[in-house]
Symmetry: C2
Subunit: 455 residues, 2 copies
């Protein structure tokens, strides 16, 4: 009268975590199913942190094959919701930057590309450490709401072709859990794990193509061009394997981009650029990234024509008009666009004076980022709150002449207690030489395009 | 009126775990203080499992320098109590085997060496997987108590010069906690971690010298001589750095040692050897190990004279008499020594018949161990209970002739359900060839002696 045992037994798990950890430990290659099992089981709390920590460490040291990396990215992507924007006509294209100091291009290029009729569903991150984050910059605009539900996000995208929000709980929960573990097990610094983390979140946006801005230099996470190129190649190939049009630009982060560093200050500088003004380097990198987005979207037949279109959309104020639309749609005060002085302002300003006459030979970019951080403009820990008003305005960039006693930058600050360490960091960051430095770094070091994105 | 802040602040921990994990991840060398900090903090539950798992995986892949290994061993040793036997006159010497099938020498050599007046404070382990354990064998003697407190152990040592117990909670608690974590994170198979685990427990015995029996071959954990030699060298050097006289014998485990496999069966075979009988290979390896112990203890001027003394102590029944003393001291039934049939006996015996005439070319030793395990003589998981009576008696060893239909071994079993898988394992384990195999493996492959133990 008993049931046959086969029908009552619970089906055994497909794989044993220990076998899979051992395989990677010994330099083996895991199958897509094996990686999918680990990621799903970990996300569902069926595998303990200590097993995943051992596996992650084995990945950091042993590396991953390209198929393994695609499988990991895909499993992390599938751990959450993937936006389906197929009811919105036309191409959907996004841009992702690996982060830098004064790196504010998202606020310029998203409006440009949306003004050209291409949908830009941009889910961004917060600043951490010496780098700023798009969300923090946007939140310096009074009222701007970055915490839209995916439903509201979709409505904004349909209405004005662009939305700028933060990661929601529905997007790639595996990445959230894995990142928290990597953060406490010294397994952050792995190109494979960085690639999977970025790509799993970006591909959840329901896009058709992605332009990567991989920073290189003293203010980037990847200090050398070799490391930047390696990460770029991993991301381009992974995106392509997953059906995306991909291109990566290796751009310079050996000094801050533009002249302003700090949240409200950077929004102000973006408005300057969209008004046809602002610093040349920020404008050039923004136009180049926007051009590639327009080209990947099929909106222009080439990158060159994309650059011309982007330039035109700035000149005729279409980009600025689109930015105003986005701000309004997301609850922000559009008055700040007409009058940027309505953005949060620091109570005090103090110039930093050059101790000698000569030429700016180098700016230690990471130290400039940390100076802004210690003023209150960034976060050391995720829980830290941000002062949107503080920051720096640079008056001199690399190669420019400076006189003794002339201000090379101005500190915007609210707390005397924080001023002195920022000042000393800035003093150390600037290197003044008697003679002008000859070698100028290119803004765009290299373009790494996928097969589907040859210019 | 407030106290100076320096005096009220709690002292910060000396190191940050994340920095130390990162250092090992990148192939760096940790200092003795850094390793000591990690081991102490983990034992005290101040470092979570996931951080230790990441560190262990980095060690498995990156390896350790010899100073790092000594520091790890020392930190694990210092995590618990270290016996002080200085009130017992003369040298204290122990032996440790890396484990094999039919590997029962401890029960023979501990009595020999103690009969020569050398103290042998032997803290042993249980069997796991295909290998047996000294404690399980001893517990097949009715009444034998291996769970002595360290105080009782000391009393037995003083009384008869030898005690045989299991690891107590006071000995190397760091090893206990680390081993449990290694077991579930695929970080067991590391010569460095194996060495630190063994040596931290053995050196807690308060000994002056240690003879290592490192097994090599199909029934050993280290299948190749290269791996066995590597582990032996690590242990010899680590012991020497910690002030011990050290020697390692690389001994053969390509077929079971002796003829009997299973707990009570192995005790019976040890009594045979101590009665001047028993198989030659078991007697030879036991004499060689005992000889080295006597030499390290300074009891004999050379290993050769040690071998002669050991042989004499068997001939004149002093070793058997000492074994009886130990059994009595630890609560066991000495009647089993006079009449081994009083040891637990299996209900059923069945011979395994050779399918062909020829010569035994090879015995897959690990499979023989697993056959004993599946009969109930071993443990797959720590929690498994053991049937002391079951096991195997081999009638043919490698190189011996066998006729078709002649029994090559006899299975002693209590459960019909377990018989057939044991039978099929044994059938697979024996390889019969038409012609006799020429190459005979040496019993003692190599001797690796520390500087303080040159023969």
């Amino acid at each position: 009268m008993s049931k046959p045992s086969a029908s009552v037994s619970r089906s055994a798990p497909a794989f044993r975590p220990l076998d899979l950890i051992r395989k990677k430990r010994d330099g083996g290659e895991l199958s897509s199913d094996e990686i999918g099992f680990l990621v799903r089981a970990y996300t569902d709390d069926e595998i303990p942190d200590y097993q995943m920590a051992a596996w992650l460490m084995a990945i950091v040291i042993r590396g991953m094959s390209r198929p393994e990396l695609s499988a990991l990215t895909s499993a992390m992507l599938r751990s959450g919701e993937v936006l389906d924007l197929s009811d919105i006509p036309g191409a959907k294209i996004d841009k992702h930057s690996t982060g830098g100091v004064g790196d504010k291009t998202s606020l310029i290029i998203a409006p440009i590309v949306a003004a050209a009729g291409v949908t830009v569903p941009m889910i961004s991150g917060r600043g951490l450490g010496h780098t700023g984050g798009t969300l923090d910059k946007l939140q310096s605009i009074p009222g701007f709401n970055i915490d839209l539900s995916l439903g509201e996000f979709r409505r904004v995208l349909k209405s004005c072709g662009c939305g700028l929000i933060g990661q929601t709980a529905e997007i790639a929960p595996a990445d959230k859990k894995l990142y928290a573990l990597r953060d406490v097990t010294a397994t952050v610094e792995s190109p494979n794990l960085i690639c999977a983390s970025i790509m799993s979140k970006k591909l959840a946006e329901g896009i058709d193509g992605l332009v990567l801005d991989v920073k290189t230099g003293s203010g980037a996470f990847m200090k050398t061009e070799k490391d930047s190129v390696h990460l770029a190649e991993l991301m381009v190939e992974t995106g392509e394997r997953m059906g995306q049009k991909m291109v990566a630009l290796i751009t310079d982060m050996d000094q801050p981009l533009g002249l302003k560093v700090g949240n409200a200050l950077e929004v102000e500088e973006c408005i300057e650029v969209m008004n046809g003004q602002g610093p040349a380097d920020l404008r050039e990198v923004s136009l180049e990234l926007a051009a590639w987005m327009l080209y990947l979207a099929g909106r222009t037949p080439s990158v060159d024509t994309g650059r011309q279109l982007a330039d035109e959309l700035i000149r005729n104020r279409s980009a600025l008009k689109k930015f105003r639309e986005i701000v309004v749609q997301q609850g922000g005060d559009p008055g700040t666009i007409d009058d940027p002085k309505r953005l949060p302002q620091a109570q005090h300003r103090i110039p930093m004076l050059s101790p000698a006459s000569g030429f700016v030979e180098a700016i230690q970019c990471e130290q400039v980022g940390i100076a802004s951080l210690v003023l209150g403009g960034g976060r050391e820990k995720k829980e830290d709150t941000i002062d949107p008003a503080v920051g720096l305005v640079l008056h001199k960039k690399v190669g420019e002449p400076v006189q003794k006693g002339e201000p090379f930058c101005t500190v915007h600050y609210n707390s005397d207690a924080r001023l002195s360490s920022a000042q000393s960091l800035l003093q150390q960051a600037y290197r003044i030489a008697e003679k002008p430095r000859v070698v100028r770094r290119q803004l765009i070091h290299r373009v790494i395009s996928g097969k589907g994105a040859q210019a």
